[in-house]
């Protein structure tokens, strides 16, 4: 589904990603862990197509297509969804309007008919349940004045509406209390299907108790320095990253 090969990328002329390779197959859950500043969000943004990140080398294909050649909105329409680490506020635009606009764009791209506001309300009634949110949330401006936890839940609501084939969750767990964490994780699990894949970026093992990964990768200083199964996350929880950084340093 997603194939990243030796990807390098700069931000503000500084190299952040220093040769990433990663393959994600349909139905798989991959966790990406690593210290602050190691390049996790950068990787997520590059996959999503943020114009502020300059790809300097390597390839990324998505379902056989050259992803790097596609505009951000085309990637979204093709089924890539990024739950932002820092969701953006859009004052004055209601969540309902924004979501329906997005939903219709994605439907159009899939050759499906657009829905009117009434039909959309029916769709939303179902989706709101997934993240245990109320309709009142739909009338508020997109993320404006939302608490940290509300913003993260709103991201998962959007994901539930747009039903992406590849979802990237960038630290969706940070800033959540244990109840919110459970709601978000269960939301993600409810959306799981054999043809949908997920990349979970996180600092903490605790999210992975709910969303169980097939693979865990450790990103440090712009490189994947270790990959393993879900038990790697537990080991990291216990030992931290330093021992890995040391081995990586020694082998470099």
């Amino acid at each position: 589904m997603l194939k990243i090969d030796n990807l390098t990328a700069n931000v503000a002329d500084k190299q952040i990603l220093k040769g990433i390779s990663l393959a994600v197959n349909p139905g798989e859950v991959h966790a990406i862990m690593g210290p602050n500043g190691s390049g996790k969000s950068t990787l997520a943004q590059v996959i999503a197509g943020h114009p502020g990140y300059e790809v300097t080398g390597g390839t990324v294909t998505f379902e056989g297509q050259d992803l790097l050649d596609m505009d951000a909105e085309v990637r979204a329409q093709a089924g890539i969804f990024l739950a932002f680490q820092y969701p953006v506020e859009i004052p004055g635009v209601s969540n309902a309007y924004f979501l329906r606009a997005a939903y219709n764009e994605i439907r159009k791209a899939r050759g499906e008919e657009e829905v009117d506001p009434m039909e959309f309300l029916d769709v939303m009634t179902e989706k709101l349940k997934i993240v245990e949110m109320t309709e009142e949330m739909l009338q508020r401006s997109v993320n404006a004045g939302f608490s940290g936890g509300e913003k993260k839940r709103n991201e998962i609501l959007q994901m539930a509406v747009l039903e992406p084939t590849l979802a990237i969750l960038d630290e969706t767990d940070s800033g959540l209390d244990i109840d919110a964490l459970r709601i978000v994780a269960e939301g993600v699990n409810k959306l799981k299907r054999p043809d949908r894949s997920t990349i979970v970026v996180t600092h903490y093992q605790r999210l992975l108790n709910y969303i169980v990964p097939d693979y865990v990768h450790v990103l440090a200083q712009g490189r994947i320095i270790r990959s393993g199964g879900k038990e790697l996350a537990l080991e990291l929880e216990e030992r931290g990253y330093d021992w890995l950084l040391d081995t990586a340093g020694a082998s470099a």
Partner: protein, 477 residues
């Protein structure tokens, strides 16, 4: 990002066509003779000619204001025509007599003068260059005692009302452009709502400049008698031309005790091309006088004109009167706008609200200029001002000039201001959800203007939405 902004703001101006009609034009130039000629063409009574001549004398002694934050090449007042009317328009003609070419023009502009096909609930006065070509729904309005007709007609049919109220809010000596207008105004609309009547239709005037090298100088007078209420809409467009054309209008509103007047504008004069060549110079004086318990509300969406100079104001004369100003002003390319309002609190417990949203793109320069003045007797006066600017791109500008004068210690004034930039992050967030950049910008701008758009009557909200190339549905209300 720049590509997407271009596509939003460089939409082709749809109203730039010219209608081929034969016109009766007076020679270029402006002298006392010109003033007499216009007055004679309109078969005006002596008192009105005298008033025009006094205004003209006064204008000659005045100089063009230089304080607005706009730059333009000097206007040659002798190089243009002050009266141009399609030959086919007969004085006081009925709608059936309107030239089909002109009817077609309005159809093209989306305004039907055919009463059967008209937008339900809206009466229209259509002004073409210097004259009104027709007013719809007059019979229906008459049943309620509402007078809605061209200014010229009102002078002949209701001289007592015109004599009483003309210049009562904006005297001819008020400012340079108001004096000019008072001397040479050619037509406009007149509205009178009798005591206790709530006008059953929206009233609307559509201004169209067609002829070249011609200024449009119209005058609108709206009088809402005690306890009356009315909602009035104004729209305007002009052909694309490489020369600048002057539009200097005056609007006066009188809201007598307990009356309510809501005045909305969607201003879409030709703005000039992307290099700033051509476009309308829009120098307009708009003011209302609010008597006891009355309310005057201005809502404007200003997207057109090369230069805009305009401060719809309210004199809060009577106790408990209310003034409101809701504005969206958009400048792009080389457009310049210096716009805002004046709220003059004279009566007790007078209240005013100012919501101004300025959007600047391209090389556009947008200035908000607003005055809140509280006179000594205005006990308990209150004002709330919110003034937000949004910048799209790096070469545009937003400026704010608030003037506050308070001479009564019981007054309460609140002022909030903000400047934001449409961020790459906001656009990227929308794109990541599948919206293209143009859609994203529209959405963000619509959200920014929401508080003003929701004040517009339904029909105009739709027009405003199209104007900004945005889809408002659902994001408002």
């Amino acid at each position: 990002m720049s590509a997407s902004i271009e596509s939003l703001v460089n939409k082709e101006y749809q109203y730039g066509f010219v209608t081929d009609v034969e016109s009766d034009r007076i020679p270029i130039g402006l002298t006392e003779e010109t003033v007499r000629l216009i007055s004679a063409k309109k078969r005006e009574p002596e008192w009105l000619l005298d008033w025009r001549l006094k205004a003209f004398k006064r204008w000659q002694s005045m100089t063009e204001p230089t304080w607005p934050n706009v730059k333009y090449t000097a206007i040659d007042y002798q190089a243009q025509t002050y009266y141009s009317a399609p030959r086919s328009v007969k004085p006081l003609q009925s709608l059936e007599e309107v030239d089909p070419e002109i009817l077609k023009t309005y159809e093209k502009l989306g305004i039907s003068l055919n009463e059967q096909k008209r937008l339900s609930g809206v009466a229209v006065d259509a002004i073409f260059d210097s004259v009104s070509v027709g007013t719809t729904m007059k019979a229906e309005l008459k049943k309620h005692g509402v007078i809605f007709c061209s200014f010229g007609e009102a002078v002949l049919d209701h001289p007592e009302l015109i004599q009483k109220y003309l210049g009562s809010v904006v005297p001819y000596s008020d400012n340079f452009f108001a004096a000019l207008n008072s001397a040479v105004f050619s037509d406009g609309s007149f509205v009178y709502i009798p005591k206790g009547v709530r006008c059953p239709l929206e009233l609307s005037t559509y201004f169209r400049i067609n002829a070249a090298d011609t200024g449009q100088f119209e005058r609108t007078l709206i009088v809402a008698d005690e306890g009356a209420s009315v909602s009035y809409l104004e729209g305007c467009t002009a052909p694309k031309r490489a020369t600048n054309q002057l539009h200097a209008a005056v609007v006066e509103i009188v809201a007598l005790d307990n009356a309510q007047v809501k005045y909305s504008t969607v201003q879409n004069w030709y703005a000039g091309d992307k290099d700033g060549v051509g476009g309308i110079y829009n120098f307009v004086t708009k003011r209302g006088k609010a008597f006891t318990n009355s309310k005057i509300s201005w809502t404007q969406v200003e997207t057109g004109s090369a230069i805009t100079w305009k401060y719809p104001s309210v004199i809060l004369q009577g106790d408990n009167s209310t003034g409101e100003f809701y504005s969206v002003a958009v400048v792009n390319n080389y457009q310049q706008a210096d716009t805002g309002t004046k709220m003059i609190h004279i009566g007790r417990n007078t209240k005013s609200t100012i919501i101004s949203k300025g959007i600047s793109a391209g090389h556009g320069q947008n200035s908000y200029r607003g005055q809140v003045k509280v006179l000594p007797k205005a006990h308990g006066a209150r004002n709330y001002t919110q003034c937000d600017s949004m910048l799209i791109g790096n070469q545009c500008g937003a400026h704010t000039f608030p003037y506050i004068e308070v001479a009564n210690s019981t007054a309460t004034l609140e002022h909030e201001a903000s400047t934001s930039k449409i961020g790459e992050d906001q656009i990227f967030y929308c794109k990541q959800r599948g919206l293209n950049a143009e859609h994203a910008i529209s959405l963000i701008v619509a959200g920014f203007c929401k508080e003003v758009f929701k004040e517009l009557p339904m029909e105009f909200a739709l027009e405003a939405q199209q104007l900004l190339g945005i889809s408002l549905e659902g994001s408002v209300g």
